[in-house]
């Protein structure tokens, strides 16, 4: 019992000492003001990264490729080591995989009963990309900008180009469902929802960007860097991941089911 108390006292002392030291140490001066940091978080105009040694791109694009690489590597490992060991009575890992795949598979089937094979694949991909991409920022992977500054790789969808990419891709998938089932009428039906790609894109962008801005703000000031990041950095990110995944996949499935519904001749 005494040993426990001693350990606790040492732990508290270490924390207090580090806190005091960090406050006393101060900062070496900001490379950029909070306005510049926020502006760059939105526009990615300053801190850019050379893509394949050529054109400079937003760090979010590097994040996007990294997320894809990680997802494909995980999928490959699961395909090689886990899938062949699947049993009729599933274990924990198998249950998680089946639940993840089954969630999007069933979402596609229930929202678009007539045509859902491709939709299921797309929903699974988009779901994995949005959720893992959002959680990716928690890893805090570093990259070097063209100016030589280190930068933490952001969530892919915090870049407007990535959000537009995913939003328009979802719209094209919905359009393909309309064409596959109803031909030109399906195109017309899809085009009626012309605001859909914009709303999808900017919903994603806004949601992810707001999280990013709040996190940027919190980390900008040392005084806010204690305890608070646990809530805004981790809990908000987890919530974003779940909510945005659900919203995007559900909207895509709903509209896909609507436009791919068989039109009845009167």
């Amino acid at each position: 019992m005494k040993q426990h108390k001693k350990g606790l006292a040492v732990w508290v002392l270490v924390i207090v000492a580090l806190l005091i030291a960090s406050i006393l140490a101060g900062t070496n001066g900001r490379a950029e003001s909070v306005q510049e940091a926020m502006r760059d978080a939105v526009l990615h105009g300053e801190n850019r990264i050379a893509f394949l040694g050529g054109k400079t791109v937003s760090p979010a694009l590097i994040s996007a490729f990294t997320v894809t690489g990680l997802l494909l590597l995980a999928a490959l490992l699961l395909r090689v080591f886990a899938v062949p060991r699947f049993k009729l009575r599933p274990g924990k890992l198998q249950l998680v995989l089946e639940e993840a795949v089954g969630l999007f598979h069933n979402m596609a089937k229930s929202n678009s009963p007539h045509l859902n094979k491709f939709l299921g694949v797309y929903l699974f991909t988009a779901g994995a990309y949005v959720s893992i991409g959002t959680l990716f920022e928690l890893l805090g992977l570093q990259a070097l900008t063209t100016k030589g500054h280190p930068i933490t790789l952001p969530a892919p969808l915090s870049d407007v180009n990535a959000a537009i990419g995913l939003g328009t891709m979802s719209y094209l998938v919905i359009l393909s469902g309309g064409i596959a089932k109803n031909g030109l009428k399906g195109v017309g039906k899809t085009l009626k929802e012309f605001s859909l790609p914009i709303s999808m894109s900017f919903r994603l962008f806004g949601a992810l960007l707001s999280g990013l801005l709040v996190t940027e703000l919190v980390y900008y000031y040392v005084s806010l860097s204690f305890v608070l990041p646990v809530v805004v950095g981790v809990l908000f990110t987890l919530l974003h991941a779940v909510i945005q995944t659900y919203v995007l996949t559900m909207l895509t499935a709903l509209y896909y089911g609507e436009v791919s519904e068989q039109l009845h001749k009167e």
């Binding site: 939105v42 526009l43 990615h44 105009g45 893509f51 054109k55 791109v57 937003s58 694009l61 996007a64 490729f65 894809t68 997802l71 494909l72 999928a75 490959l76 699961l78 395909r79 899938v83 699947f86 009729l88 995989l97 089946e98 795949v101 089954g102 598979h105 299921g120 694949v121 797309y122 699974f124 991909t125 988009a126 994995a128 990309y129 892919p156 870049d159 407007v160 180009n161 990535a162 537009i164 990419g165 995913l166 328009t168 891709m169």
Partner: protein, 163 residues
């Protein structure tokens, strides 16, 4: 472009998504969905098999029920037949016993008659024997000469009568 929208980067994001969709489909989605379908089919087959077995069992039960009802009828008929056979056999045995009894009685009567005749014959023979013995005793008295006795008897039996 406002907000630094860059079509080249958007196209790169599309390419990234296309790579991810293809990779995830072949590496994870398809194998897992295939396995889930396979398992679903496995349990569906099991259910179908169980249904078929159940149906067979129901049919067999109905057949056995029918047979059981038939068997009850058969048992009733067999019981009636066996009762009739037993009754017939008992009647036959009774008739046989009565016939045997009659034969025994007749035989007993015959034997009794024979015994009586024999007894009569024996008694007659005994009487004859006794009579002859008595006659002999009378005729062959020890003190007399048999020849004289005979002659006495032949002559009139006065001596004998006097005695």
């Amino acid at each position: 472009m406002p907000l630094n929208i860059d079509w080249q980067q958007i196209l790169l994001h599309w390419m990234n998504l296309a790579i991810l969709a293809g990779g995830l489909y072949f590496l994870l989605y398809k194998p897992v969905v295939d396995f889930m379908h396979k398992r679903e089919q496995h349990y569906k087959d099991m259910e179908d098999k169980a249904d078929r077995e159940l149906q067979k069992a129901e049919e067999a039960k109905a057949q056995y029920q029918q047979k059981l009802e038939g068997a009850e009828e058969e048992i009733r008929e067999a019981r009636q037949k066996s009762q009739a056979a037993v009754q017939k056999s008992a009647e036959e045995q009774i008739a046989l016993a009565q016939a045997q009894a009659r034969e025994i009685v007749v035989e007993a009567h015959a034997q009794a008659a024979q015994a009586r005749e024999k007894a009569i014959r024996d008694s007659q023979r005994e009487l004859k024997r006794l009579a002859s013995e008595a006659a002999e005793k009378l005729a062959f008295h020890k003190d007399d000469d048999p020849f004289d006795s005979f002659l006495d008897l032949a002559e009139g039996g006065s001596k004998h009568e006097s005695r």
